[in-house]
């Protein structure tokens, strides 16, 4: 009986450790489970703009940019108010809502990093 309780205790603690470590040691995007849609859309951006929007080369970095900046730029590219080599063609593939979610997602990475 004592053994059983001990085991339940061990299992419970293990499980707790795993939950805690999943919160603290995991990559920041897992925290944003409520915003799955924005995260999934943003995964297309990182092929050029780098994992987490951190570009190692000539592509502009999105990490650390505000939601307003990304959203406004994308909306301006969409209607050709702003002109770039590539982004006008890409922005036209997204609705205003999708652009909002993408922008919110990248901006949230900034907040997440700040908190740590």
């Amino acid at each position: 009986m004592t053994l059983k309780i001990n085991l339940i205790n061990i299992i419970f603690r293990l499980f707790l450790t795993m939950i805690i470590s999943s919160v603290f040691s995991s990559f920041s995007i897992s925290v944003l489970a409520d915003d799955q849609k924005g995260k999934l859309l943003a995964l297309s951006c990182t092929s050029c703009h780098g994992t987490n929007g951190l570009s190692p080369g000539a592509m502009p970095t999105l990490f650390g940019k505000t939601m307003e900046y990304i959203e406004q730029s994308m909306n301006n590219y969409k209607v050709d108010k702003l002109s770039a080599t590539m982004m006008n063609r890409i922005a036209k593939g997204y609705t205003a809502e999708e652009i909002h979610l993408i922008s919110k997602y990248f901006a949230s990475l900034r907040m997440e990093k700040k908190m740590k």
Partner: protein
């Protein structure tokens, strides 16, 4: 991005250690077992390497094994720059160290020879068996040697395809270097679908650049199995500006289709007759990588039919097929597509393992092509499911403007290099 520190890594190893202890005394609660699901990724290229990394980033409790025979991965994207003597082998070669050390992925350098979808097992060439909860298969393409008469695997030493792997690309590069001024280079692009649709024309451009510098009396003939090719107007006008009449292109109706090859005498034969080349590059027709064909995951076309939402095979449940070998609607077979499909599939698999619904999303593709150093063009599109098929979103995408100034071509060349750094960092960094 937060790195997995050594301490955290050791802690997770410690957790595994406790699992083992619990297992040996016969207690292995299903709730803990569930936290240790195993995803095997077969193929460590643009699809597979990205998928393995993102699986671990999105769910650090997932056990991920990556099976890839090659230790030093040479990228197909940018290999045309090597042929133009603008990049070295080292600059285009990457290893799997960080995937193991930083992300805790078990990398096995072996060939997968058999997949048994019913018992969820992968067999490696040395007999080792891996069991999985979900499998990601990203085997890339294989060349077909059953389409051109008298052309087989023995001929690729003299007539390399240079369409995958370092070895074949190096052979072609050496042949170009050894060719004397005034020589004739023949390039034969395949019929669709194939890996990297604009690739053969970027190749012609960068070989032309090399010839202009070192062997200016030489010529390039393109014998094409197609009637037209991607970014054609941009390539044609660029070729005229940059290389005059060095490159001559013959489409299928103009005798572009190669019917027969004589590698001893360096001859290709078309409907219109025989042509001798000093260097010949046949890019053969392609189909899904061997492991996909051997495991009967392909349809009559030689490619893998998948559910274009989850990328799960339509033939075998539990196996997700991404990248060049998958039939992905209008998405082209490119490194970018494979990378994007990999990330979405990683997220989908985690949802499915947790019995959650898969969220439909959109994907994108961007392909840059160099016409010369500091001169690049691009094509892009955003894709979404329409019914069961991925199609490009109306009004999105397209190619670079034909009228763009040189400064735009220069900027695109800069961004092309930036893209390479970002995407290889997504895979290996």
């Amino acid at each position: 991005m937060k790195k997995i520190s050594r301490r955290e890594f050791n802690r997770s190893i410690g957790t595994f250690g406790t699992f083992t202890t619990l297992k040996t005394i016969g207690i292995f609660p299903s709730i803990l077992l569930a936290a240790q699901r195993h995803v095997v990724v077969v193929g460590g290229g643009f699809g597979g390497a990205t998928a393995a990394k993102y699986l671990r980033m999105m769910d650090p409790h997932l056990r991920v094994t990556l099976v890839e025979p090659i230790r030093n991965y040479f990228t197909c994207p940018f290999s045309n720059l090597l042929l133009g003597s603008l990049k070295t082998m080292e600059e285009l070669t990457h290893n799997y160290d960080k995937l193991q050390q930083k992300y805790g992925i078990r990398v096995i350098h072996a060939s997968a020879v058999k997949i048994d979808g019913a018992s969820k097992k992968v067999t490696l060439h040395d007999g080792v068996e891996l069991t999985y909860d979900r499998l990601i298969l990203s085997p890339g393409v294989d060349m077909r040697y059953d389409q051109i008469e008298n052309y087989g695997t023995d001929d690729i030493r003299d007539i390399p395809h240079a369409w995958k792997g370092a070895k074949s690309t190096l052979i072609l590069h050496k042949q170009l270097e050894a060719m004397s001024d005034g020589g004739k280079v023949i390039i034969c692009p395949p019929p669709l679908p194939y890996r990297c649709p604009p690739g053969p024309y970027e190749r012609a451009s960068l070989i032309a650049h090399y010839l202009k510098r070192f062997k200016p009396r030489s010529k390039i003939l393109i014998f094409d199995a197609k009637e037209q090719f991607p970014k054609q107007a941009l390539f044609s006008s660029g070729w005229e500006k940059l290389y005059g009449h060095t490159i001559e292109w013959f489409n299928r109706s103009a005798g572009g289709l190669i019917l027969k090859v004589d590698s001893k005498n360096m001859l290709v034969e078309t409907e219109f007759g025989k042509e001798k080349g000093d260097v010949i590059n046949i890019i053969p027709a392609q189909w899904a990588g061997k492991i996909a064909r051997d495991s009967r995951l392909v349809d009559k076309s030689g490619w893998c039919p998948v559910d274009q939402l989850t990328f799960e095979s339509k033939i075998q449940k539990g196996i997700h097929i991404i990248g060049d070998s998958a039939i992905a609607g209008s998405m082209p077979k490119s490194g970018f597509s494979a990378n994007n499909q990999a990330k979405i599939t990683a997220a989908n698999i985690i949802a499915l393992l947790n019995e959650k619904e898969v969220t439909p999303t959109s994907m994108a593709n961007t392909c840059y092509s160099f016409l010369a150093p500091g001169y690049a063009i691009s094509v892009s599109a955003v894709y979404q499911l329409s019914g069961n098929e991925l199609v490009s979103v109306k009004g999105s995408g397209g190619v670079s403007s034909l009228k763009a100034e040189l400064s735009v071509r220069r900027a695109e060349a800069l961004y092309a290099q930036g893209w390479y750094e970002s995407i290889t960092n997504e895979m290996f960094g």
